[in-house]
Symmetry: C2
Subunit: 445 residues, 2 copies
Amino acid sequence: MSLSREIARMIINTRYEQLPAEVVSFAKLCILDWLGSALAGEKQQPAQILAAIAEDMGGSGQATLITGGTSSVWNAALVNGAASHIVELDDIHKASIIHAATVVIPAALAVAEWKRKSGRELIAAVVIGYDICYRIGEAVSPSHYYYWHNTATCGTFGAAAAAGYLLGLTEEELIQALGSAGTQAAGLWEFIEDGAMSKQLHPGKAAMNGVLAAQLAQRGFTGATRILEGRRGFFQAMSESADAMKVTEGLGQTYKITENSFKIHASCRHTHHAVDMILEMLQERDIRPETIESIAVKTYQVALNITDNPHPQTVYAAKFSLQFCTALAAVKRSAGLADFSKSALADPEVLALMRRVEVGVDPQIDAAYPEKWGAAIEVKLADGTRIAKQTDYPKGDPESPVTDELVDKFRKLTADRPAEAVERYVERTLHLEELAEAGLLLSEL
Amino acid sequence: MSLSREIARMIINTRYEQLPAEVVSFAKLCILDWLGSALAGEKQQPAQILAAIAEDMGGSGQATLITGGTSSVWNAALVNGAASHIVELDDIHKASIIHAATVVIPAALAVAEWKRKSGRELIAAVVIGYDICYRIGEAVSPSHYYYWHNTATCGTFGAAAAAGYLLGLTEEELIQALGSAGTQAAGLWEFIEDGAMSKQLHPGKAAMNGVLAAQLAQRGFTGATRILEGRRGFFQAMSESADAMKVTEGLGQTYKITENSFKIHASCRHTHHAVDMILEMLQERDIRPETIESIAVKTYQVALNITDNPHPQTVYAAKFSLQFCTALAAVKRSAGLADFSKSALADPEVLALMRRVEVGVDPQIDAAYPEKWGAAIEVKLADGTRIAKQTDYPKGDPESPVTDELVDKFRKLTADRPAEAVERYVERTLHLEELAEAGLLLSEL
């Protein structure tokens, strides 16, 4: 049986009612987390430019743009996808290196709003979309990732799967939709050399292309039936080797959305374990920064390769400095988007403490990487007290799940909006299964 | 200097007034030829499905759809691009294996109509678009073509270049536009295994994506500045080896649009030389099919590998049968789209003559392939007369140029439309430099 047919059958057979409770809860957290990122990004240039072009192009008022107003489902998928990948706080699947939210959710939400689908149907669509793109991403990892932005390329299949589910496609139609999705898959990493906005174009376009693929199939437009494993298909063309088993293993039995990692701090993932432990200590006892004599952080070598920077000069560099992030967390008691600012970079208290942070490798922790992303921390106070902590995973990883922290993060990302509206967003998303129309999620806009 | 900058400078420096007269004439023939293909394809399913989806999505009335009505430039580029690649009679560049018309012209025409650009500006844009995609296609040939549908992937750059020219982008903006084009480039050959409609989706999407790339750049959206030659760019990711010199050699001095080949018969290109010679003989003297004792066609081996089929069973197969095409031309005195029909396939006169066609290899002709696509033909009549002809190129190749034949082809492809409207299309296109608004080209719709 072709991989496309196996995927199509899994989609056809998925029912909200049969999803495990933890899968449903997880999907709602993914949607809340996505919404926070989208709301935090929508005023920034990449989203605003795409919104302006979408306005130029016009479109039927089928779905809500995160930037305001309604337009076609294409435009909603495009703009909302791009907006949600700007602040770089969206979720990630480590095994496939895919940010599924930024592609799958805007596609699914736009189609759900258009077709007046329920919250439950949106949840099922998101579960499906995450699952398909994670599986395809794992199949082509690691070689695909060198040239291709997995989030966009593999994400296109996820968006098509979610949209196809919501459009009620048949098995044969879903196979065609996957063909049309794969043949539109694009997104080269070359933009990273310039730090260009293609980073945001990719998920937006992938969401839009996925929706188009499903629409095409619904109307009888055909595509390759073996787009993944075919001789001139996605695997052969875009990876050095591909493991088809990664697509099919447990397909329809386990949903990979629960393997998702959330990012609750605004810094590089390799700094999160230290920030987590500092914040935990501060919850356990009140430690004033000036009473800290030293902080020793031991972790794996890769973390240091990327984040050992005792003198970050820009806000961006500060997010990649383990020393800065650790000190910032101790002083500000938080490491959210707003905490990483120019004023924090010049804050004498943060800078003074940063100089008292020492980083190094712990051989045992290093040996356990990358299965575990661990760290050990020891804080020495002026009175001689030593406080030590150790962790194997940053918070937000599936092994260290979070809920309250995600709601906190959402509130921080939407701090510029009326508090009542923010609480309604939280309420609606966390009770999404009760919404008769999923499109109401964005009704605060 | 980066390739993108070299291309951007060539675009900036191109002026209609400085184009050689033969380049201008050639561009107008390309546009006429494209228009015929688009009008012949618009009623078929792939175009109609895309038009229906475009209508669903809605869009501002900026540009004319070949299927009727107006919509956004995106929708016009998408629908018109797909429509023009259905009857498979659009032009081709042999060195890059690209059908530029089906991507570059719908993108350029939609933007020209939107921005009320003149016929002259459209001509310059088309010349630029053809040139850029041919050059990039040659640079990645032949390895790119194995997996990737060059027309779509390289065509995206051509569409962006043409659209960027018409939008008046600066050098820096054009570089960004090329970055956004390349990172959207997509289109896998896998669909060919199913004979799927991705064949038409690809050029339509490439045209639309190229327009989007130019729009993005105009509003300050950034892309990779070395999208072609960069470490994780188009060349490295999508070809085994690439020759950057093919992009720059003679750039801005010679325009590759004049290397274009036109297809004046509706069959496989490898049958055209024989059809040409039969039609030429029939112009020179009246030969009734029943008086033909035998026809011997000698050509290169590759032609026979693909077209030696003495018993074609379908209309599609008939277009790939050298024996059938030769006999059809002798009986019908034409080998246009309408001539290849089910009734022709059952026509006793065609079938009888087909059995008297012999095909074989001529060693000299074979040795000259692929630089020359030659054939020799000998017709033996019942009265003992032998008529022989030989050619190095099928008509429509740059070495064997055509004009009247293209106008004839246009009339045949639009035979279902009012004759006066058809003549106005021809008149306007062949005098495009006199049109104050290029969008008027489609005003007969």
